[in-house]
Every structure is written in C-alpha cells, then in structure tokens.
C-alpha cells in the first residue's frame, strides 16, 4: 500500500551533548505533495528539525518515518542513499564558487553516478525550469542572490527528490526576490514535490497562506492549515529586533 504521509515524526526528542533539549516529544505528520512552513523564534528547534530530516543528527528517542521508511536508526552507509531522495536549499546557497552554473547542478548528478550523456539534458531541463537556461557558463559570484538561490534549487531538484527542504531560503534576499523564490517553490510543489520551508520571514508566510507549523522551545506550539505567522512570534521577533536596534 502506498504511503500517504511523507514525514511522520512520533515523540521525537533531540538533546544536544550540552544538555539543551532542542526537540521535546515532537509529533508531526506531513502528507505527500504538501507545502508546509515551519516557523519559530531563535532556539525554537527549527534548525534541529531540518537537521533531523537531513539525517545530520539522529534523535535520542522517538521514531521518524520518511515515505514509510524508518530513518531513526539509519546506518552510516544508508544515509547517503537516503539523502539522494531529498533535496535541500539553504540561506547561504552553498554553491561551489569555482564552478559555473551548469557544473554546480551537474555535480548533484555526478554524485549519484548518472551517465555523462544524460547529465547534460537533465541539467538543461532543470535550468530552464528555474529560469536560468541562458546562464549555464556563469560563475556564482557573477549572479544575484536570487539567481544563486535558483541555482541551488536547480541542484536540489535535478535528482527528482520526493521532498524539498528549504532552510531559510529567502534569508539573504530582498522582499521582491524572496517572493519570486517562493513562487518558484510553489510551482515545484504543484508538480508533486513535497516542500518544507523553515523560515522566520513572517511576510512571506502570511502571504502564501499555506500550512504553518509553529515551533516554540522545542515543541509544536501551533499547527494550522492555511495558517499565518503566529502573532506571539511576530511580537517576540519585533521586540528582539528593536532590542538589537537599540544596541
């Protein structure tokens, strides 16, 4: 029977060696093809949530199923195979600075051993999809922030992942470019890819009107369909920013 849920977290606890409990008995279900925002203030557990899904860290207890497969206790050798099924983008783009746009995207295909002649057509297809078909030979430093994030997206998508994880994808972008990236993510989602966006950008979250999971102090504080950035978090962030401004 085909799984309906792509992410299933049961009582997941993550405690760092310092003693900080980053996730406290988190229970989350995400269906295939969903678009979900995960929001929360600093220290709420957003980054840990992404790290657990990327299998950078393993939970201390609880169970995580991805597409019906238990990844809680994956062995070292199984991690690489698991990561091939998920795409990820980050705030700092993480592109290879000495390689051009084409090579950056092709790199993801080389990693999984795609034959050379197939790489060319796959990369060109995905670069056209993200609107960079004419910038194959350009180096990352010659691109704008928005374009660099598109390259990162192309790299994340070229291996056709079932799920795309985006960790603060608009963190380094201006509002207009941020919205363009979000529209691109929405288009990708409409083609069937599950998209999970971790962000603190309340404007984006409020405009998109998607499911919003709010984390607070390592727990699921709020989970609503067609949700918005929780008012309490906005106030919390605003007071943080004004505090920083006073400094």
């Amino acid at each position: 029977m085909e799984e309906k849920e792509i992410v299933s977290m049961d009582n997941v606890i993550v405690t760092y060696p310092t003693g900080t409990q980053a996730l406290k008995k988190v229970n989350i279900r995400i269906a295939k093809g969903e678009f979900v925002f995960v929001v929360g203030a600093s220290g709420s557990g957003k980054s840990t949530f992404i790290k657990v899904l990327l299998r950078e860290i393993a939970p201390n207890s609880g169970r995580i199923l991805i597409n019906g497969k238990d990844i809680t206790n994956l062995k070292h050798k199984q991690v690489a195979a698991y990561r091939r099924k998920i795409g990820c983008v980050f705030q700092d783009f993480r592109l290879l600075k000495d390689r051009n746009v084409y090579e950056n995207v092709a790199f993801a295909q080389k990693v999984i051993g795609v034959p050379h002649k197939l790489i060319g057509q796959n990369v060109r297809r995905i670069l056209t999809l993200v609107g960079l078909g004419d910038k194959e030979q350009v180096l990352p430093k010659q691109l704008s922030g928005g374009e660099q994030q598109r390259v990162a997206l192309a790299r994340a998508l070229v291996n056709k992942p079932a799920m795309l994880l985006a960790d603060e994808p608009t963190g380094n972008l201006d509002p207009k470019t941020s919205m363009e990236i979000m529209q691109l993510l929405e288009a990708i989602n409409q083609q069937g890819t599950t998209v999970i966006v971790v962000t603190h950008d309340n404007e984006i979250v409020n405009q998109m009107r998607k499911r919003v999971i709010t984390l607070k102090e390592g727990e699921v504080y709020q989970d609503e369909e067609d949700g918005s950035y929780a008012k309490s978090l906005s106030i919390q962030n605003e007071s943080l920013f004004s505090g920083l401004a006073r400094l």
């Binding site: 690489a80 990561r83 993480r94 034959p115």
Partner: protein, 303 residues
Amino acid sequence: MEKINTLFYCIGQGFKNIKRNRMFSFTSVCTITACLFLFGIFFSLVSNVRYMVNNMEKSVAVTAFFEPGTTDSRIAEIGLELKGRSDVKKVEYISAEDAWNRFKGEIFEGQQDLVDSFGTDNPLADSASYEIYVKDVTKQKALVKDLKKMDGIRKVNSSDETAKLLINFNRLISVVSIFIIALLMAVSVFLISTTISVGISVRKEEIGIMRLIGATDFFVQGPFIVEGIMIGLIGAVLPLFLLAIIYHQLIQWLSNRFSILSDWMVFMSLRTELSVLVPFSLALGVGIGLLGSGLTVKRHLKV
C-alpha cells in the same frame, strides 16, 4: 554503471586535486622522490654488498692437510666422505706440486731469481690438501670439528674469522636497512598525510555539499586516495630514472678506477638491480600514498 562512473570521477578529481593543490603536491612528490632515491641508493648498496658477500662466501674454503705418509687410498676415502656430506658444495684436491706452483704465482710473482734458487726442491712437499667449499658459511664450524677428528688429517685451516665477519656484516646491513627504510617510509607517509589534510581543509565546503546531496564515502574519499596514490607513484618513478643513470655511471667508474679489486668487487648488473628495485619502489610509492591518504581520509572525512 554508477560505480564505474564514480570511479572515473574519482580518478579525474584525483588529478585535479594534484593540480589545484600543486604547491603541496609538488613538495610531497619532491620529498618522496628524495626519500625513495635514498632508499634506492641504500637498496643498491645493500644488494651489491650482499652480492659481493655471497661471492666471497663461495670463495671461502676450509683447507685440510694430510699427515705425512697418508696413503693415496686414505686420501681418496677422505675425499669421498667429504663429498658425501650435505653441507659440502665442492671438494678440490691440491697436490704438493699444485700448492708450490700456486704459492710461486701468488708470492714470488716477478721474482724468477728467487724461485730458481729453490731448484727442483718443493718446500711444500708435505702440504698436499683438500680445499673444501661449504654451501652455507654458517655450517663451516661443524665441518672443521669433524675434519679434526678424521684419521690422516694433520691440520685444518679455516677462515672462521672471515666467516664470522661476513655473517655479522650481513646482519648489520640488514638491521640498518630495515631501520632506515622504516624511517623514510614514516616521513613519506606523514608528508602525504599533510598534503591530503590541506586538500581536505581547502575543499571542506565542497565535501559538506557532497554529503548533503547524498555522496557515498567512496565518492567523497576516492579523489583523495587517488591523489595520494598518484603522488606516491610519481615520487617513485622519478628516482628510478635518476638511480638507473647514476648506477650505470658509478659502476663503470668504480670498475675502471679500482680494477685491482675486480676479483671480489663484482657488481650486480643494472638490469638485475632494476628488476628488483622497480617493482619494489613502485609498490612502496603506491603503498606510501595509499597509507598516507587512507589514514587521513579516515581521520578527517568521518560523518
């Protein structure tokens, strides 16, 4: 198919790593070249000394002189008994005339007047003997002991001291060579390890990205292993060329310069020397590269 593509990728990236990290690669290649060059010199020295020692061992003989009046049949019996021993390689009968002729040739060479003064007398009339050559010089002592007990044997001259000296010299050279080779290998492994460490730290970001997009350990570590092997291989090939040229010239020079010692100073031919040194050096170069890079990637590239 994935594995073959990955293998080609690793080889290609290994070469690119050497190019990107060219200063460190160059330093490593130079040091390994120097180390393996020294190793080659040492190896050639050891193998040639061993070769000469073996030649000398073959020429070391025990001489057994007969009691005056020992009959020819007894001499023949002794000869048969000696030839029947498993530790004896060759038994040669030296008559009193042969002994005198050899003596004249060796000691009175060019002094015909002195030789003529002896007339038909043979001062070595009672010096007929057997020259016995052993298969292994370490067995000489036992043979001497047995000879002394035999009827008809007056005196046994053995080159015990020479044998001991040769055996000790062989041992010394073996110990010193093992020590030096181990030291040179450790230095080379350390240098490759440093080069690979630098390469890994320069490409830390890239490695992180590889991990995130699902690269296997082989994909991440392979290029560094290839880099280490290539540095080791290049570092092994260069000194072989140098050694071949120097060895050839040196043997010619030594043979011409010290022709007086040509009886025992016999060198191994360049071909024989290289037939051992080439596979040994290449294996050592690859081994050093593999060990240096293997240890480093295991230490630095754990997830």
